[in-house]
């Protein structure tokens, strides 16, 4: 420490613990990155201090990103052309099928191209598991994949849509392995899933039903597969108000993990059917209700606050709770994409999208900076959650 006669202090020598305190107050990933680029000591310090996760990036399909809270638009070449997102991974569709890429670390994970389904016709009594598999053929035209979920280095899950049904598929990453598609259970078109305390859960929208998924692993190939779909709990007693006349309520459900609990987020929007129209117009009125799974009593328990020190970044395929400071961004709020719904194509097609924020305390919805709107393409905008 300098006395009055010492030379002026150098900011590059700032002690490590102070670097941590300063970086904690820079929740934007872009600010943290620029801090680390200033000089060697700061770069080393930024790598060494443990920090809470930064706020996510908002990535648009054209490769534009915004580093929250509110920033100028950046060009992020690593983001161009994604088809899906999962945490800090983006999914791309290449010549050799899907692969995951981390645009920050540039790590790449290949996903299998081949799909197998259980063959129920030939059950061999002598077989250890009694399970036989057959390759799925000619799937490319009638199969779409969505909601990739990177659970662990050994397990990636995804929903596979085959014609009008949704199936759950799991695989271990790697080009040489295979997706195991579970055909024993057909989900409705609107489902979400989450990985919670080492277990995969699927939430089905139509009945607000939660399932837990048992995963088995092949002894030889280590390929995972769904061995059982277990019913956990179902519908909430206080259901959505009954629609009157031409008004209808659209519902979207999300399944998210928070502090060791599993939460269902129920988003409702009001729509109106215009005379003679078969599609509905959204008339807004976003409302959110959160329910925690009480595993012991097998029921949904409403949650009215997520705390002043957290916000929920919500997107159909990629949601996460992020710690915030009051100053940067007030907590207890849900930040969502207005038209975050590839599954409900029956309401009026909207061409542009933007971000909004829902305040859990008063139920009010307001615009969320960056105040941008973007053209909707075949792939929706997404949050990207860097590890920090």
């Amino acid at each position: 420490m300098a006395g009055t006669t010492s030379p002026p202090p150098s900011w590059s020598d700032i002690p490590l613990e102070l670097v941590g305190l300063i970086l904690r107050r820079l929740p934007a990933l872009a600010d943290r990155a620029r801090f680390a680029a200033v000089c060697r000591q700061w770069r080393r310090a930024a790598r060494e201090v443990p920090l809470p996760a930064p706020l996510p990036l908002l990535a648009l399909p054209d490769g534009t990103v915004y580093s929250l809270p509110g920033s100028k638009p950046f060009r992020f070449p690593g983001c161009v052309g994604y088809v899906d997102a999962c945490g800090d991974w983006l999914a791309f569709s290449g010549e050799n099928g899907y692969f995951l890429k981390n645009p920050f670390s540039h790590a790449t994970v290949a996903l299998p191209q081949k799909f197998r389904v259980q063959d129920h016709r030939r059950r061999h009594a002598g077989d250890e598991t009694g399970v036989r598999w057959m390759e799925m053929e000619d799937h490319s035209n009638r199969l779409t994949m969505y909601k990739l979920l990177y659970c662990s280095p050994q397990l990636v899950a995804a929903f596979i849509r085959i014609e009008r049904s949704t199936r759950l598929a799991v695989c271990q990453p790697g080009a040489g392995s295979r997706w195991s598609v579970h055909i024993g259970w057909m989900f409705s078109l609107s489902v979400d899933m989450a990985f919670h305390q080492g277990k995969l859960y699927v939430l089905e929208e139509s009945m607000e039903t939660l399932f837990s998924i048992d995963i088995s692993v092949d002894h030889g190939t280590c390929d995972p597969w769904v061995s059982r779909v277990r019913y956990v709990l179902s519908e909430i007693p206080s259901a959505i108000p009954v629609a009157r006349n031409e008004n209808v309520t659209v519902k979207i459900l999300y399944l998210v993990e928070l502090d060791g609990a599993l939460l269902m987020v129920r988003r409702t929007m009001h729509c109106i059917f215009l005379p003679g129209m078969s599609i509905a117009n959204l008339i807004g009125g976003n409302e959110f209700k959160l329910f925690r799974v009480d595993f012991q009593q097998s029921k949904w328990v409403e949650v009215t606050t997520i705390g002043d020190n957290q916000v929920l970044f919500l997107r159909r395929r990629c949601s996460r709770f992020i710690p915030v400071s009051l100053e940067e961004m007030p907590g207890d709020r849900i930040i969502f994409l207005d038209n975050d719904d590839e599954d409900h194509s029956w309401y009026k097609v909207v061409t542009s999208d933007s971000c909004s924020v829902y305040d859990m305390r008063d139920g009010k919805v307001s615009a969320f900076p960056p105040m941008v709107s973007w053209e909707q393409g075949p792939v929706p905008a997404t949050w990207l959650f860097p590890q920090g």
């Binding site: 202090p9 900011w11 904690r24 934007a28 620029r34 809470p52 002043d308 020190n309």
Partner: protein, 186 residues
């Protein structure tokens, strides 16, 4: 609140004795003496609280060899101002964990307090706050420093903080490739 050393020694002793009840005297690395409210010092600094409780406060000026007079003057000034300000609700709950609690916003007077400091004085103050275990003052100073960095390019930050770019060409190129997306005006 620097004690005038020009006065006679007797007077100084009397002053110190008088202060024994509700103030403590701190001595900077360059030997200057400062008086600070005992209550505020104990409340705002874990280190001073420990010294007061442990009886290691020297009536003739407790040596703080790591802290220069300018920084110590600011510390003392901050403590005394704090003693006079009405603590807001946000300040009362200081028992939450350091790392996970949401930051408490600086009060208006605290903002002004750090805004008037030169960069060197701010640097010395944040180090002094760190040394003395002054969580609240660390909040306020680190807040100010982070505000000075937000939205700025690495070049601009180097300029503001007078930091030399010590990267080699190769390292700079590596950083540029890794973080190119995050830079602008750079």
């Amino acid at each position: 609140m620097e004690v005038d050393k020009g006065k006679g020694e007797a007077e100084e002793t009397r002053k110190v004795a008088e202060a024994d009840r509700d103030t403590v005297t701190l001595k900077s690395s360059d030997g200057k003496l400062f008086e600070v409210s005992k209550e505020a010092a104990a409340r705002l600094s874990t280190v001073l609280a420990g010294m007061i409780a442990g009886g290691s406060i020297d009536d003739n000026g407790t040596d703080l060899k790591q802290i220069g007079s300018e920084a110590l003057e600011n510390v003392v000034d901050y403590c005394n101002k704090h003693a006079n300000s009405i603590p807001s609700a946000a300040l009362i709950s200081s028992s939450i964990s350091f790392n996970t609690a949401p930051f408490k916003e600086p009060e208006e007077w605290e903002r002004k307090f750090v805004d008037r400091l030169s960069h060197d004085a701010l640097f010395d103050l944040v180090e002094a706050a760190n040394f003395l275990g002054m969580e609240r003052l660390l909040d306020v100073t680190c807040h100010k420093i982070s505000e000075m960095m937000k939205g700025k390019s690495p070049d601009q930050i180097r300029e503001v903080f007078n930091i030399k770019n010590d990267y080699t060409k190769e390292e700079l190129e590596e950083i540029r490739q890794e973080l190119a997306w995050a830079f602008y005006d750079d």
